[in-house]
């Protein structure tokens, strides 16, 4: 019974997504929309499949750039988050700075990176990094700052050092917050990479889309969008799975059902 309910749930969500695309396809056919304005899903997917050999290096470029930027962003984000979460002084100093920095549209930052490092992969990595840091810092800091004071007292009375408190309580309890932020951060990193690629690069999906729209190859531009969305979903799923493995304790309902 339980399984069938789960399967039914999955079927209904797949049907919903499929019907969304079917409606798009139908609307384009009925209203005779030109593919230069809005291509049909079938055209986009055909283009994506046919052009895949040509697109593949660009997809790879974007993926690698994103992952490098995201990786660096993750390390910096965790370090900043731990600092901000552990020390009151760091919290007071860093928070306004972080909020201010995250409010800057990253489009405005790309030209500066290009100025410093020239066009290409480096500014894309940096843009990806700066785009994805903020949610990681905020979540890690929140996780640490919400440690129960009683638990801290228990450990301090035992004679635990700050480091032992952090290692045994602070960091583990921050894990669910951290992974929740990673799922968001990885998609944000994509946005950053593509943004930078559309402005100043000669490889990557962003570049492909710029060139495609310049030559009115709208299906190709949309194929680029689809590729991006698929990569985004893929990475989201990967991090969701890792999260489930590491922080299963935070979703006690699932665990209960399995036990």
């Amino acid at each position: 019974m339980k399984l069938s309910a789960k399967v039914r749930e999955q079927i209904s969500s797949v049907t919903l997504i499929a019907s969304l695309f079917a409606a798009w396809e139908a609307a384009c056919l009925i209203f005779n929309v030109s593919p230069i304005v809005l291509p049909r899903p079938s055209q986009i997917i055909t283009t994506l499949v046919l052009q895949l050999p040509a697109l593949w290096p660009h997809i790879l470029q974007t993926l690698v750039t994103t992952m490098i930027g995201f990786g660096i962003g993750m390390v910096i984000g965790v370090l900043l988050g731990v600092m901000v979460g552990v020390s009151r002084a760091a919290y007071n100093a860093a928070y306004p700075l972080l909020v201010g920095f995250s409010s800057i549209p990253k489009v405005a930052v790309v030209p500066i990176f290009v100025l410093w490092f020239g066009s290409g992969t480096v500014p894309a990595i940096l843009t990806a990094m700066t785009t994805c840091i903020f949610p990681i810092v905020v979540n890690v800091a929140t996780g640490l700052a919400t440690t129960e004071p009683e638990m801290e007292d228990v450990l301090k009375a035992l004679g635990a050092s700050r480091w032992q408190v952090l290692w045994n309580v602070g960091l583990p309890r921050t894990m669910p917050y951290f992974f929740a932020s990673l799922k968001i951060a990885v998609t944000l990193a994509f946005v950053g990479t593509v943004l930078s690629e559309t402005v100043a690069a000669n490889r990557g999906i962003g570049t492909v889309m710029m060139m495609a729209s310049a030559s009115f190859d709208v299906p190709l531009a949309f194929a680029g969008l689809f590729a991006l969305a698929l990569l985004g979903i893929l990475l989201y799923v990967v991090f969701a799975l890792i999260e489930q493995r590491i922080c299963g304790w935070a979703n006690r309902k699932n665990e209960f059902a399995m036990a």
Binding site: E148, E150, G159, A160, Q164, N168, P172, M175, A250, R252
Partner: protein, 280 residues
């Protein structure tokens, strides 16, 4: 202020806890208030002390002073003959909130102090699956949690979590045990059951216990000595010896001497509260 690591007068070595003219002030200059006023107190090793009094009278403040979580604004706190904070002595502590870590099993939760306190921590890796595991299992058995070591905290009821909490506070056989309203959130039957369990554990290990509670029956049942405290600024106004024979049973609590004691304590606290009302 006082020199770090000062040593208490040698005549008082068997006194495990000693507060001398301690004052605790919270807050900055203008809106500062006195949480604890000129308190002096000595506690013999192995004693069981309960602190009762109106809310906000500084009971928990004394607990935190002794546990080294708080520094006195004036005066000195000696624990085991040394000024508190001079060396780590691994004090066991339990609050009303059991704060079991949800990512660990009950066994791992109870084992946590062994990971931190010497002499256990240096051999923790070697013993965690053998010696320490048996030790935890034996203690869990004593409090009625035998076989629950592998359970996760959320699978246990409030009373069971509180049992595990006691185990975590006692697993390293601390010299000092600090209990801050540990049974406050439990129903009466569970509470009375845990009183007996705590009494047995105390008789076994003989740690020096400080218990903060609102429940006068709890204080009278468990303690050898009850300190009644006045409203803010808190100070000890009454120091009662409780010498009912051990082990005490729940029946003890229905004897006349027992009810006289709790009744007397009650009127003292009511009086303290009234004084506060007059003041404000």
């Amino acid at each position: 202020m006082n020199q770090q690591g000062a040593v208490a007068p040698s005549s008082s070595r068997n006194r495990i806890v000693q507060l001398e003219d301690v004052r605790v002030r919270f807050g900055a200059d203008t809106d500062a208030f006195l949480a604890l006023d000129r308190t002096s107190l000595t506690v013999e090793a192995g004693d069981f002390v309960a602190m009762v009094g109106p809310s906000g009278c500084g009971k928990s403040t004394i607990l935190k002073l002794v546990a080294g979580l708080l520094r006195p604004s004036e005066g000195v706190v000696f624990v085991a003959g040394r000024e508190i904070g001079a060396e780590r002595i691994g004090i066991g502590m339990a609050f009303q909130n059991p704060t079991m870590l949800p990512w660990l099993s009950i066994r791992q939760n109870v084992m946590l102090p062994l990971k931190i306190v010497e002499p256990y921590s240096s051999t923790y890796r070697a013993h965690k699956n053998t010696l320490f595991r048996d030790r935890v299992e034996a203690l869990l058995e004593k409090v009625g949690l035998g076989g629950f070591g592998d359970h996760r905290p959320w699978q246990l009821s409030g009373g069971m979590l509180q049992r595990a909490n006691l185990c975590r506070a006692l697993i390293h056989e601390p010299k000092l045990l600090m209990l801050d309203e540990p049974f406050g959130a439990l129903d009466q039957f569970t509470r009375e059951e845990l009183w007996s369990i705590l009494q047995d554990l105390w008789i076994d290990q003989r740690p020096t216990v400080f218990l903060v509670t609102h429940d006068l029956r709890e204080a009278a049942f468990l303690a050898n000595r009850i300190l009644v405290m006045s409203s803010r600024p808190g100070r000890v106004t009454e120091d009662r010896k409780v010498d009912f024979a051990r082990p005490r049973t729940i029946d003890t609590t229905y004897e006349k001497e027992f009810t006289d004691l709790t009744h007397g304590l009650r009127s003292l606290i009511v009086a303290a509260k009234q004084k506060e009302k007059v003041k404000s």
